[in-house]
Amino acid sequence: MAALVLPAALLVFTLLVAPMALLARISLNHYSPTELMVEAFTAENYIRAVADPYYQQVLATTLGVAFLCTVLTVLLGFPAAYWLARMESNRKSIATILTLLPLLVGNVVRSAGWMALLGNEGGINAALRALHLTSGPLQLLYTPGAVIVGITAVVLPYMVLTLAAVIESIPRQAEEAAANLGATASTVFRRVVLPLSLPGVAAGSVLVFILCMNAYATPLLLGGPQFKMMAPAVYDQFVRGNNWPFGAALAFILLVATLVLTVIGSMALSRRYRG
């Protein structure tokens, strides 16, 4: 039996663990503008990343966007997931496919769509002008709001499907029992459905938070040149700056921040679930 796990284990090792180890090593090297990467064993890249207000801002923006998008997807996703979970089975499979459909559109293509909609000459501004509601164009594209809307739209299906799977496992009769005992619809939700869905909220949030933290194409295209999140910043260092050590350090900071926050978050949620 153990032998059957071997191919997968090997794959994970060569594709994930080995590159990460390599990256970790690179992050400790020294960068010189003339020789590029110089073999060393220094924490200077981490110190610089943490101390530099610019990168502090980039990390803060990334955390803020990821947090907001996660909260938004929970709020938007819950009603949809509940509706999906409680649907009759023959219609449910169609609705599930429809939920997955947006994932068929790649992030770049989708962002291009948002640009066409949000741009100064885009669909929304054109409509507002036609209705004489605005005189000049509204700045919609290249704003944090555009990025948050864009990322939320990308990750929403993951949240809906994760939540729906958990809500489906809550027996409808538990809701009926609560109503029978005198609970109004909102109390049934607050006292029965929500607590029993918390594992799903935790799982969905972790998934979505990780996706948001690592968002690349959407912030790049919808946020414009002034708006920076971590994943594009890492790319900049590797490709434009040719500063591999600093890029690797940024990548690790992103990884650790994501890990720490998801662990704390899911622990807090699961404690509430038990309590």
Partner: protein, 361 residues
């Protein structure tokens, strides 16, 4: 605690009619069982009383108040579900306290009543367990306590025993009955187990395809079934088609004359003789001329009871009696031998023949 009245209750779905018409009055403190084959509309009826399903027609009255339009959470019924439907994220005590919280019972009073209810179902020692840490029977009793603790006007149970094994079922059945009587709860229980219905209920409602076939006490239904469906569904019954030869004598389709009651329904032709197997006395030996003789086709030993499958000139009959003792000649009766049959004529009741009979009996 109140009376419960179902007034011409009806539920239609797009293509099917789940409940065609149910009229029923359950008196204060009475336990009424809805009995019938699968799909006859028992659950639908119960759920209309609880308010989960809106009837197409008719009314539900609880204690003279028309609650047909009242939402579930204001009806004050206590329902026990087939799969218990406990709140998995709450302890046993929290489960039981839920209904009291909804009624804004203050904390001290609530704790007292929860403890009382748990004592009633003998679970006070498990108050802090989670539902998943309980056996099926214990979960069932939590569900009972949770429904009872709020003093519901009507107590509703949908096949509450079907997930329990046979021994536990008999035990919990007695427990539910004792609780219900002690608290004087007006109760509607759904079951398709006729033994359960007979042993628990004050009155039974036998349903078939959304209609009420007969309402009566267990004794009334067993001794005096209104029709062939009820006779066959409640207990075992020999049903022999034929006609009335003259008052007190029934002619089977194969021509044999059998003694029967003198009370015959209006239609003389197309009758069915209904005779409970245990009312047939079998004796070995020749008997006197004119006695009814039948050939044994099979003998089924059931421990306390023994069943004799008999052939009476082409008419099949079953007789059952307590298993004869070792030295009784009946004990050695084997298929192929002959027996003499007799019964009290009044036990052989006459029912109108049905064009359509129940499908699942």
């Amino acid at each position: 605690m109140s009376t419960l009245v179902l007034d011409r209750l009806r539920k239609r779905y797009d293509r099917t009619t789940a409940v065609e018409r149910v009229d029923l009055t359950a008196k204060q403190g009475e336990l009424v069982a809805l009995l019938g084959p699968s799909g006859c509309g028992k659950t639908t009826t119960l759920r209309m009383v609880a308010g989960f399903i809106a009837p197409t027609d008719g009314r539900v009255l609880i204690g003279d108040r028309d609650v047909t339009q009242v939402p579930v959470h204001l009806r004050n019924t206590g329902m026990v579900f087939q799969a218990y439907a406990l709140f998995q994220h709450m302890t046993v005590a929290q489960n039981v306290a839920f209904g009291l919280e909804m009624r804004r019972v203050e904390r001290a009073e609530r704790e007292k009543r929860v403890a009382e209810a748990l004592r009633l179902v003998r679970l006070d020692h498990l108050a802090d367990r989670m539902p998943r840490q309980l056996s099926g029977g214990q979960q069932q009793r939590v569900a009972l306590a949770r429904a009872l603790v709020v003093n519901p006007a009507v107590f509703l149970l949908d096949e509450p025993l079907s997930n329990l094994d046979a021994k536990l079922r008999a035990e919990v059945r007695m427990e539910i009955r004792a609780l219900q009587q002690r608290l004087g709860l007006t109760t509607l229980i759904v079951t398709h187990d006729q033994e359960e219905a007979l042993t628990m209920a004050d009155r039974l409602v036998v349903m078939e395809r959304g209609r009420v076939r007969q309402i009566g006490t267990p004794e009334e239904l067993y001794e005096n079934p209104a029709d062939v469906f009820v006779a066959s569904f409640v207990g075992n019954c020999n049903l022999v088609a034929g006609t009335l030869e003259r008052p007190g004598s029934f002619r089977t389709q194969s021509g044999t004359l059998l003694p029967c009651t003198s009370e015959a329904p209006a239609a003389n032709d197309g009758l069915v003789l209904a005779l409970r197997p245990e009312r047939v006395t079998v004796t070995p030996g020749e008997g006197a001329p004119g006695d009814i003789r039948a050939q044994v086709t099979a003998v089924t030993y059931l421990g306390a009871q023994t069943e004799y499958h008999l052939d009476l000139n082409g008419t099949t009959l079953r007789a059952s009696r307590s298993t004869p003792l070792h030295d009784d000649p009946l004990r050695r009766i084997a298929p192929g031998e002959k027996l003499t049959l007799s019964w009290d004529a009044a036990s052989a009741r006459l029912l109108p023949a049905e064009t359509e009979t129940g499908d699942e009996t």
